[in-house]
C-alpha cells in the first residue's frame, strides 16, 4: 500500500497554522476562515481516501489488517533504542484520522459562524489548525516518544484555545489549570516511557506490541515492589493517559476548560484530545493485556468504571449546560476505558477493545454535535445557564432536532449510533466482569436522565424573558449540526468489528438482545424521569433535591475535589514542603551569592580611591615601580 501521501494530512494544517499565524495581521477575517476550512477539507479528503484505501482495498492480507510504517530515525541512542519520526497506519490510527478530520472540519465550518466579529478571528483559526496538526501527529505516531512529543503539542494547543478569551480571568485560570494538571499526569507518562525504554530497549510500538516479542515475553525479568517493572511502566503511561482523558483524579481541569469558546470544547473536549488517553491505552493494548496477565488492564477498567459513575452523578446537578456536557464526556470516556479494561485479545474475546474504539468513534460524532448545539443555544441566548433558557424549540427548530438526535444517541436509544457502541461495551463488561457491568448499566440510566434534563430544560419548559428574541443560528453553524446529526444516526450501522479489533483480524459482532433490552429500558427510565421532572414547569426537581439534602449539595459542588486539591496544594505542599525549600533557597543559596556580591562591592569601595584621576599619582606609581624593577635587575639579576 502506498502511504507516502499520508504525511500530507498533518502537514496541511501545519502549513495553514504557519500561514495564518505569521500573517495574522495582514489576512482579512473573511479570507482566514476560508483558508482554515479549505486546509482542513484537503486533510479530511485525504484521510477519508486513506481509510477507504486501507479498509477496503490494500489493508487486508489473509484476513488480517496489516500495519504499514514509514519512518526515519531521528535520534540514535543505541542499536535498538532510537527515536523515529514517521507514520504508522493500522486500523485504529486510520479510524482516528477519520474522526479527527470529520469533527475538526465540522468545527472549522461552525467556527466561521460562531466566531464572527471576534477580534482574534484569524488567530483562532491558526490555533485550531495547530491543534489539528498536533492531533494528527499524535494519531500517526510510530513510537512512544513521538506520541509524547505530539501529546505535549496537543496540550499546548489546548492551553492556547482554552485561554482564548485571555481578557477573562476565569478563562486564563482554566487554561492554566488544564495545562498544569495534565502536566502532572504527563510527568508519570514520561517516567513510564523512560522505564519502558530502559527495560525493553525500544520505543517502537511494533516491537513492543508484538505478542511474540521480547518485551511481552520477558516481562517477568525484573520486578519492583512485587510488580514487574514493565507493569509499572504501563501504569505510569496510563497515568499520562488518565490525565488527558480526565479520569479520576485528574478530571478537575475538564469542567473548567469549558471557559474556552464552544467550538473548542466540541473539538478538543469531546472528540479528539480527551480520547488521546484511550487511544494510548489502545495503542499499547497487547502490552497491557499480556504483561503480568493484565494487571495494569484491571486498573484501567476500575479507574474507567469509577470515573464514569462519578462523572454521571455530578452531571445531574450542574446548571451550566457546557459543564453538564463536560462531565458527560468524562463519563463516556470512563466507558471507553472500562471497555478496554475488560477486553480480551483474540477474535471475539477482543470485543471490549472493539467496543471501546467504536464508542470513541460514535461518541466523537454525537458529543461534538451536543457541544455545537449547546454553542448554538448559547449564541442565541448569551448565557450558559439553564435558568436563562427554556422553550427554545419554537425559535431554533434545527438546533432542537439535532440536539434531540444527539441526546437520543448518547442515551443509547436504537437505532442511533450510541446504542450500538454502548451495547457492545455492556456486552464486553457482562462477559468479563459483572460488577463493572452493573456500574455501566446504572451509568447508562444516569446518562439518559441528565441529557434529557438539559434537553427539556433548554428546548421545553417555560419560556424565559429574553432580552431580544432568540433566532436560529446562521447556516454556517447549522450545516455542521446537520452533518453530525446524520452521522449520529447512521454511525452505528458501520460493521465496526470487521475493521477495528485487537488482533486486527475482524469478527462478526451480534446484537445481544437481552442485554440490549436491559440497557435500552434503563435508558428509557432515565428519559421518562427527566420528562416527569423537567418537561413541564413544576417543583418536583426542587423537592427531590431537598430530599437528598447533603448529597445534593455534595454533587453540585462536584464532591469538593477542587477544594481537596487546593487544600493539599496550599496547606500541605506550599506550607510544609515549598516554604522550607523556598526559605533554604532565599537564605542559604541566595544568601551565599549576596554575601559574595556585597563583599565585592565593599572591597571595591575601599580600593576605588586608587582611581583618583590624578595623573601625577599614576606617574608616581609608574616611576616608583620602574625604579624598583630597575634596582631589582641591577642588584639581584646581575649578581
Amino acid at each position: 500500500m502506498n502511504i507516502s501521501y499520508i504525511i500530507l494530512i498533518p502537514m496541511i494544517p501545519l502549513a495553514v497554522f504557519l500561514l495564518l499565524g505569521i500573517f495574522n495581521q495582514k489576512i482579512k477575517p473573511s479570507i482566514s476562515g476560508y483558508v482554515g476550512v479549505l486546509g482542513l477539507l484537503a486533510s479530511a479528503i485525504l484521510s477519508l481516501y486513506a481509510a477507504y484505501q486501507y479498509f477496503f482495498i490494500d489493508g487486508k492480507v489473509d484476513g488480517v489488517y496489516q500495519t504499514f510504517v514509514d519512518k526515519t530515525v531521528w535520534m540514535n541512542f543505541t542499536e535498538t533504542l532510537h527515536i523515529d519520526m514517521g507514520i504508522l497506519i493500522d486500523p485504529i490510527s486510520v479510524m482516528m484520522l477519520v474522526v479527527v478530520s470529520v469533527v475538526s472540519l465540522m468545527v472549522h465550518v461552525y467556527s466561521r459562524g460562531y466566531m464572527k466579529g471576534d477580534d482574534g478571528y484569524t488567530k483562532f483559526f491558526a490555533f485550531l489548525s495547530l491543534f489539528t496538526f498536533s492531533m494528527y501527529g499524535l494519531v500517526l505516531a510510530t513510537n512512544l516518544f513521538q506520541i509524547y512529543i505530539f501529546w505535549e503539542l496537543v496540550g499546548v494547543s489546548s492551553y492556547l484555545l482554552i485561554g482564548y478569551y485571555y481578557t477573562k480571568p476565569s478563562a486564563v485560570a482554566a487554561a492554566k489549570k488544564a495545562f498544569i494538571v495534565t502536566r502532572f499526569a504527563d510527568l508519570g507518562f514520561l517516567i513510564g516511557i523512560l522505564i519502558m525504554g530502559y527495560y525493553t530497549g525500544t520505543f517502537d510500538f511494533e516491537t513492543l506490541n508484538n505478542p511474540e516479542g521480547s518485551a511481552i515475553l520477558n516481562w517477568a525479568s525484573t520486578s519492583f515492589m512485587g510488580l514487574s517493572v514493565i507493569t509499572w511502566g504501563l501504569l505510569l503511561i496510563f497515568i499520562g493517559g488518565a490525565g488527558k482523558s480526565a479520569m479520576l483524579p485528574f478530571h478537575i481541569w475538564l469542567p473548567d476548560a469549558m471557559e474556552g469558546p464552544t467550538p473548542v470544547s466540541a473539538l478538543i473536549h469531546a472528540a479528539t484530545m480527551v480520547v488521546a488517553g484511550i487511544y494510548l491505552v489502545a495503542r499499547l493494548f497487547p502490552m497491557f493485556y499480556f504483561v503480568e496477565n493484565g494487571f495494569a488492564l484491571n486498573i484501567v477498567a476500575y479507574v474507567g468504571a469509577i470515573s464514569s459513575l462519578f462523572a454521571a452523578i455530578i452531571a445531574i446537578t450542574q446548571t451550566d449546560i457546557k459543564r453538564v456536557l463536560a462531565f458527560s464526556t468524562m463519563s463516556q470516556l470512563g466507558y471507553m476505558m472500562l471497555a478496554l479494561g475488560v477486553s480480551g485479545y483474540d477474535g471475539h474475546e477482543g470485543i471490549g477493545y472493539m467496543a471501546s474504539m467504536f464508542h470513541l468513534f460514535t461518541h466523537a460524532m454525537f458529543k461534538a454535535l451536543l457541544f455545537l448545539g449547546a454553542g448554538s443555544v448559547i449564541h442565541a441566548v448569551h448565557s450558559n445557564y439553564l435558568k436563562d433558557m427554556g422553550g427554545l424549540r419554537k425559535y431554533m427548530p434545527i438546533t432542537n432536532m439535532t440536539f434531540l438526535i444527539a441526546a437520543l444517541a448518547i442515551a443509547g436509544m436504537p437505532p442511533f449510533a450510541g446504542f450500538w457502541s454502548k451495547d457492545e461495551i455492556l456486552v464486553a463488561a457482562f462477559e468479563h466482569h459483572k460488577l463493572i457491568y452493573y456500574i455501566g448499566v446504572f451509568v447508562a440510566g444516569l446518562t439518559a436522565f441528565y441529557m434529557f434534563r438539559i434537553y427539556f430544560g433548554i428546548f421545553w419548559g417555560k419560556e424565559k424573558e429574553y432580552e431580544h428574541k432568540p433566532k436560529e443560528s446562521p447556516l454556517s453553524m447549522t450545516f455542521p449540526l446537520m452533518v453530525l446529526a446524520l452521522l449520529s444516526v447512521i454511525g452505528g450501522f458501520i460493521p465496526f468489528s470487521e475493521f477495528v479489533t485487537a488482533d486486527k483480524s475482524g469478527f462478526e459482532a451480534h446484537l445481544n438482545y437481552p442485554l440490549a433490552a436491559i440497557a435500552v429500558s434503563v435508558g428509557l427510565v432515565g428519559i421518562i424521569l427527566a420528562w416527569v421532572f423537567y418537561k413541564k414547569e413544576n417543583n418536583l426537581a426542587d423537592k427531590w433535591a431537598k430530599a437528598f439534602g447533603p448529597f445534593y449539595k455534595w454533587t453540585s459542588d462536584k464532591f469538593y475535589f477542587d477544594e481537596i486539591y487546593l487544600f493539599i496544594t496550599k496547606k500541605i505542599l506550599f506550607k510544609r514542603v515549598s516554604a522550607p525549600i523556598a526559605w533554604f533557597d532565599k537564605k542559604v543559596v541566595d544568601g551565599t551569592m549576596e554575601v559574595i556580591g556585597n563583599k565585592t562591592v565593599l572591597t571595591s569601595k575601599k580600593i576605588k580611591g586608587l582611581q583618583s584621576g590624578k595623573v601625577q599619582d599614576y606617574a608616581f606609581a609608574f616611576v616608583g615601580g620602574t625604579v624598583i624593577l630597575a634596582l631589582v635587575f641591577i642588584y639581584l639579576w646581575t649578581n
Binding site: 576605588k608 583618583s612 584621576g613 590624578k614 601625577q616 606617574a619 608616581f620 616611576v623
Partner: protein, 105 residues
Amino acid sequence: MIEGISIYEILTLTTILFFIGVYGFITRKNLISILISVELILNASVVNFVVINKYLYPDILQGVFVSIFIIAVAAAETALAVSIIINLYRQINSVEVKDTEVMKY
C-alpha cells in the same frame, strides 16, 4: 666627544636632569610647572641620544636626527598642552591640579 669628560659624567647629568623632571611632574601642583617638568624629561632624553651617538657611534648621525625629531614633537606638544591649559583656565579660572578633579569617581 669632549676632551677629558667620559660618557659617565654626562649620563649622570642627564639622569639627574631626568629625575628632576620626574620629581617635578609628580609633585608640582601647577599645570604649567608640570609642563615644564615634562620638558625637562624630554630634554634629558634628547641629551642622552646625542651623547650616546657621539660617544659610541661617532660615524653616524641617527641619534642627532632623532633628537631633532623629539624637539619638534615636544614643541608641538607644548603648544597643544598650553592651549588646553588656557581653555581650562577659561572654564574654571584656575590652573591648579586640585581644581581639575572632575574625572574623579
